[in-house]
């Protein structure tokens, strides 16, 4: 089972700021994901990666960007935060096997004022 870490856990910032949400995992899983979660809604996939130097946009349009320079690290960056970015962001790592079982971090709750 992967250990997934996300920092910060809570972030309140002003409009226009650049922010990076950190995500790291310790088990060497190739697949990593970022989801956006709003209350009462399903999780929406915004970015994913199948390995180092591989990144793809997910089903939900997002103004964020990601990078995957190391297997264990998958940060998400917002160049200019807006109130519409207020949400919970969940990072996950999936096994490299066929079944794609995913393990989730605790999440970052972002509030943009």
């Amino acid at each position: 089972e992967a250990d997934i870490y996300q920092t910060p856990r809570y972030l309140v910032i002003g409009t226009g700021k650049k922010i990076t949400l950190e995500c790291s995992q310790t088990m060497g899983h190739d697949k990593m994901y970022w989801y956006q979660q709003d209350p009462g809604m399903e999780l929406h996939l915004i970015h994913y990666s199948y390995g180092v130097n591989s990144t793809e946009k997910g089903d939900l349009s997002s103004e964020s960007t990601v990078s995957r320079i190391r297997t264990e690290h998958f940060p998400l960056t917002l160049e200019s935060a807006r109130p519409s970015h207020t949400s919970q962001y969940l990072c996950a790592a999936g096994t490299g096997q066929m079944r794609n079982e995913q393990f989730f971090g605790p999440g970052t709750r972002l509030t943009v004022l």
Partner: protein
Amino acid sequence: AQSVTQPDIHITVSEGASLELRCNYSYGATPYLFWYVQSPGQGLQLLLKYFSGDTLVQGIKGFEAEFKRSQSSFNLRKPSVHWSDAAEYFCAVGDTFKTIFGAGTRLFVKA
């Protein structure tokens, strides 16, 4: 279109009573099936999964789920609910490349 439906937005059960959370899906082939639980302020924790074989699967914390292909369902059950089970539960279906999550069912447990 691929989708996951959890018909109940919230459910309230008494402590000690049995529980069933419903999940229906629409998918091109038999997908991999998952149930996750999320406590307030936390990420999702995997409760159980179905890949193939026996259609009744056991998970952690005393939960089980049954895959019914004819009904495209994967309902979660627990015979006796504890107050600590109060949380949000997500059904998910997927394949090697992607996973789709339902909107969740929030479980309230009353004493």
